[in-house]
Amino acid sequence: MDDKQLRCLVALQDVDHMIRERAKEKELGFDVEGVDELQKMREEIAKSIATPLLRTYERLRQRYEHAVVPVKNGICLGCFVTLPTSIGSKGKENITVYRCENCGRILYWLD
């Protein structure tokens, strides 16, 4: 597993969540600036992710609320299917980031 790429991907997803929840935070009374700053951060992080992997992430994001999901006790927490003991399948991107065989989401091991 390419740890650096995966860490960047997780950071990217964190920022995407910030963008999505900005309005809700504002409602709660938090001081949250415009999306510009966030978009800039997003671009910065995206630059360090290999293009095929980034494309996969963007594609998954169209389909699912979470493109990167945790694996817990051998279960993909995106679709709740038990992963094969050979720890999932590699993506077609030539990058060794693991994806769920059932739902295709990118996997992140929490334990």
Binding site: R7, V10, A11, Q13, D14, V15, H17, M18, E21, R22, K24, E25, L28, G29, F30, D31, V32, E33, E37, L38, M41, H66, V68, V69, P70, K72, L77, G78, Y108, W109, L110, D111
Partner: protein
């Protein structure tokens, strides 16, 4: 969210009576490391970076000596809430420019079955709007006093 549920997210081991940090970056670091020493967090660096990024959008120092750094990250498997006090104060770039004496740190996973993160955050902000709760929180020294004070805001 009722009082029981709200209070259930606070843990004694994440209660820090005296923070050492004097700056925003230091306190985020200190609190994440404290939590990581009691709880298996996947990647503390990712959490600290996420919290710092969030601060760049606008300070979570909401005034009255209170800060609520917060955000979602895959690095935590569940909603974690830590509380720390700083008797001498932290430079936090708060909206009222005053130093911060109380920090509530909230980290939530992106994937949540109960989706409790925003309701919890909302309730916390609401409780902290009560003046006597804020005043009393400045005085608490134990976790039990802390919990009793928050319960008083309901």
């Amino acid at each position: 969210m009722d009082v029981q549920e709200f209070l259930s997210y606070f843990r004694e081991e994440f209660f820090i009576p005296e923070l050492k940090a004097t700056t925003k970056d230091e306190v985020l670091e200190e609190m994440v490391q404290h939590v990581a020493s009691k709880y298996p967090l996947k990647d503390t660096r990712l959490i600290i970076d996420m919290l710092k990024r969030r601060e760049r959008l606008g300070s979570t120092g909401i005034g009255h000596g209170i800060a609520i750094p917060h955000g979602r990250t895959l690095s935590t498997p569940s909603l974690l809430v830590a509380f720390g006090k700083s008797p001498r104060g932290i430079e936090y770039d708060s909206i009222d420019k005053k130093p911060v004496h109380m920090v509530f740190m909230i980290v939530a996973p992106p994937q949540e079955e109960s989706n409790v993160y925003l309701p919890f955050l909302g309730k916390l902000v609401e409780v902290l709007q009560v003046k006597h709760v804020r005043d009393q929180l400045m005085q608490v020294t134990t976790f039990q006093e802390f919990i009793d004070t928050l319960a008083g805001g309901f």
